[in-house]
Every structure is written in C-alpha cells, then in structure tokens.
C-alpha cells in the first residue's frame, strides 16, 4: 500500500472519529433533549481534544496533523491579539480623545479633545508602513521611538530595582537576634522563623553571593583560598541551575497534567 493511500485512510479515520465523538458528546448525560448549546459545546470540546492529540502526535514524529494544530494556534493567537489591541487601545484610548462622532459610533464615552494623541496615531501609521516596500523605511522612525522609550524607562527601573535594591537586600545581618552563645544554644530551634534558621539563611546569602562573584572575577588566578572560594561559587551556581531545572520539570509536568485532565474529564468523562 503506498504512502498517499495510508494518508487518506488515516485522514478518513480521524474525521470519522471526530464526527462520532461530536455526536456522542452532543447528547446530554442527564437524559435531557439535545439542544443547540449542547451541540456547540460538544463541537468545541471535541475540537480541543483532537487539537491536543494532534500536538501530542509530534512525540511520535512530525506529521501534518501537528503542523495543522501549530498553524491554527499561531493564526488564532495573532488574530486575537490584533482584535483585542484594536478594541482596547485604538477604540478604548484613542477614539474618546479625538472624535465625538467616532466615540458615538463605537459606543465609548467621549472625554475631551487632546491634540497630542495624534502623535501615537501617526507613529502607529508609520509602523504599518512596513507593509509597503517603498515606504517601509518610515516604520524605523516609530520603531526607534519605541526602542528609545523602552530603553530609557528600563534603565531607570532596572538600576533601582535590580541593582541598588538587590545590592541592599544582600547586606543582611549575620548575627540575628544575638544575645550570646549561651542563649543561642539554650533557645536552639530548627523552626523556620527561629534564630538558627534565620542566621543560616543570611549566611547562605552572604557566602553564596560572595563566592559567586569571585567565580566571575578573572583578573586573579583561581588558586589557593581564592580558588577554593571560586569552587564554592560554582557549586552555588550548579545548585541554582539544578533548582531551576527542577522547577522547569514541575512546570512542564503541570501542563501535561492539565491537558490529560482535560482529555480524561471534559472529553472522555472518565473522572468524577
């Protein structure tokens, strides 16, 4: 049997299964009569299930069903973002500031005419010039504005939140609630809010940051005490990467659980 015949058989099987699933899902389980909402709901649940299976099919090998689901996702996403952008930004923010007539037409409350709202309108039109081969260069002006503004905004905020505040957060007391060695041992506790745990946390932050920085200091050869601190630094980095990997696994498994729960529950009705 040649390849194209197999492709046709698989396609017919998939379409048949889809129609059977749609028909079965359309009948309400409680014995109620079939209705338009139940038919519509059954169609969307079946479609979602088949698109999920199409994406999973990539685990076997690349195939047209996976490609179809992938392209459908990209197309729907792009269209969704464009529609929401139009209604929330163009209609929601611009129209009420430039035209009472258009505000009435779109059903949004007119505020007051604000001249400088024409600036983003013009920049937006310039951005769309990218679609033209002759006037495409004009889009660079709008793009330059976006890049410059974003860089300026981020520079200030990153400097404050990710540099100054983070450096400040690293200056932690190494002796927390210290009342002497005797009191430390007599009140010793492994509780999360206890003195020992708080001190241990601060020591880990201090040593981890210090040794991590030493690892990235290349002006001195990593030998002796400096080399030992550098090796501690690389251990800290490795533990951090390990924790990130663990979290990534958790995230991916969560997504798999979400999809399988949908298939077992919403589509197949296997769960209570």
């Amino acid at each position: 049997m040649n390849g194209s015949r197999w492709t046709m058989i698989v396609l017919i099987a998939v379409v048949t299964l889809f129609l059977v699933s749609w028909a079965i899902k359309s009948f309400p389980s409680s014995g109620d009569t079939i209705s338009w909402p139940s038919i519509r709901h059954a169609f969307f649940v079946t479609l979602a299930a088949f698109v999920t299976l199409a994406i999973f099919s990539f685990l076997y090998k690349d195939n047209p069903y996976y490609k179809f689901a992938e392209h459908l996702f990209v197309g729907v996403s792009a269209a969704y973002w464009m529609c929401v952008g139009f209604w929330s930004t163009f209609v929601g923010n611009l129209i009420p500031r430039i035209s009472p007539g258009l505000s009435k037409f779109f059903g949004v409350p007119y505020k007051e005419f604000t001249f400088y709202y024409f600036v983003p309108l013009i920049l937006g039109i310039l951005l769309l010039m990218r679609l033209s081969s002759k006037a495409g260069w004009l889009s660079r002006w709008a793009l330059a504005f976006i890049v410059g503004t974003t860089a300026g905004l981020n520079l200030i905020r990153y400097l404050r939140s990710d540099f100054i505040s983070q450096v400040s957060n690293t200056f932690v007391p190494l002796l927390v609630q210290w009342k002497g060695t005797g009191a430390f041992f007599s009140d010793f506790s492994l509780a999360s809010g206890g003195q020992f745990t708080l001190m241990l946390t601060n020591w880990v932050i201090f040593i981890g940051t210090f040794c991590g920085l030493i690892y990235f200091f290349f002006s001195k050869e990593h030998k002796g005490v400096f080399g030992a601190a550098s090796r501690v630094g690389i251990w800290v980095l490795m533990i951090t990467f390990g924790a990130s990997f663990g979290y990534t696994v958790m995230g991916r498994v969560s997504l798999l659980v979400g999809r399988l729960t949908f298939l077992f529950d919403d589509w197949l009705g296997l769960m209570n």
Binding site: V84, T150, Y158, S165
Partner: protein, 303 residues
Amino acid sequence: MNNLGLIISFLVIGAGLLWFLLRALQGKEVERRIIFVFIGLAVSVPILFSITFAEKASPIVKAVYDKIENLPDGSRVLISYDYGPSMAPEVEPMSNAFLRHSLAKGHKVYLMGLWATGQSIAATAIDSVVRREFPEKVYGVDFVNLGYKAGNQGVLNVIITDIRKMYLTDVGGIDLDSLPIMDGIKSLRNMNLLMSVGGGFPGIKEWIQFAGDPGHIPVAGGSAAVSAPLLYPYYPTQLLGLLGGIKGAAEYEAELKRHYPQFADTPQPGIKMMGPQTLAHLVIMAFIIIGNISFFVARRRRG
C-alpha cells in the same frame, strides 16, 4: 480509592522502572518514545485515581495568604492576569484562589491584564468563581474587570500616576467614573495590594520594577514554575510573597481550605495536580539514576 490508586500507580511505575533498569544493566538503549509513553502512564494513573497528598503552606506562600487575610475589610486588591491559555493549567489555580480569598474577606477586587489573553481569562474567572460562589457580589461595586491595555511595562508607568490616562472604561466599555468601585481611585498608589499572576514578560518582575518599588505598594504574586527561581531574590523586601508553580498553588488552596470551610467543596486543581506531579518527579529522578547507571555500565564495557 486513594490508597488503591497509589498502589496501582506504584506497581505500574515500579514495574516500568525495573524494566528500564534491566535494560540499562544489559547496556541496551531505550527508544525515547517508550520513555514518553511511560511518563504519560506515570501521570495518567494518578489523575484517574485522583491521588492527592496533604499540603502545608511554606512561609513564602503563607506571607501572601496572611497579607490578604490581615488587610482591613473593604481594602483594594488588584489582580493582574498576565498569562495565556498555554500557562493556565499551572497558574489559573493561583489566580482563582486569590480572587476567592479576596472576595471572601470582603475586599474590593480590580481585575486587569498586561497580556491580551488575560482579559478573557479574567472574564472566565468572573463567570466560574464570582458568579457561582459569590452571587451577592455586584459588578462595579465589589469587583471590576478593567481589561487589557497594550504597552507592557509602559502601562504600569502610566497608571502608577493616573489610571484614567490609560483606562477610560472597563472591559465592557462602561465609563469608569460611573462605577462606584472606582470612587477615590486615581492611581495604583490607592491600591492596598498588587498581585500579578503569570510567568512571562510582562509579569511580576515588571510589577515590582514599575509599580511596587517606585510607588511603595506591596506586591505579591503567583508564577509559573519556570520563572519562579528568577523571582525569589526579590522576596521578602520587594516581593512580599510568591506562589511558585503548582506546588505554591496547592499550598495556598490547602491554607484557604483550612481557614474557610465553605471552600471545602470548591474545585482545588492545585491540590489535585500535586499527586501526578509527585509521582512524575519520582519517575524523572529514577530516570536520572538509571541513566547514570547506564552510562557507567557502558563505560566499563568499553574498558
């Protein structure tokens, strides 16, 4: 059912791992598609048997819970839905738990999104959580959906000084000035707590940088596991608490269930997902050990 499911899960997983170990000791490779099927089984069996484990809130999760709990009734809580459907299975339990807790405490809740998809997800949350569990809450008085605005962190940079420069209406086109919930609200500085749920850009990091830090407003959130390690450095000074991945969601749901018995029968997807999650992690750890055994066996055979 839980115990039976656990036994069946361990039998299936144990038998599979034993087979993998024997293959490793014989120095034979395992087809990657068999590993995919095995992971699928390890996750499917606990889902079908609804295996769950007891959860206890860690300090970083408890901090978020305590903040919402200790705010005076009628405080203003903003929840930003900064995620899309691809992240929803992991972070939707968090946003629903925040919404449920805030409304149960009698806070005024403002929903918005820095992601276009967040607008629809917030609307879904209103239907599935607010309308079903809090039918007495009135739109525009107790909660409002402000929707999405384009501009990423630029939106925050504007609404930190004046919300109405960016939001003239709610998501349905209703004038904000006509909604009682917006009385006395000029900017984000009038909020008592800012919460972002997401895991990408823009997300919690941008809320800290462009709203929390400059406005001295408490920021908390829930993050997809992939992004959570990058946010821990902000805790506790710049970020008062964080729900990291589905584990954080499960801990929060457990805490909510413990203090609010009325939520005992509400859906708790976070807790339900921790069963398959735990078993899948055990399997992956076993794979790492078996992979190392296979590597050393192969090296010894090569001489």
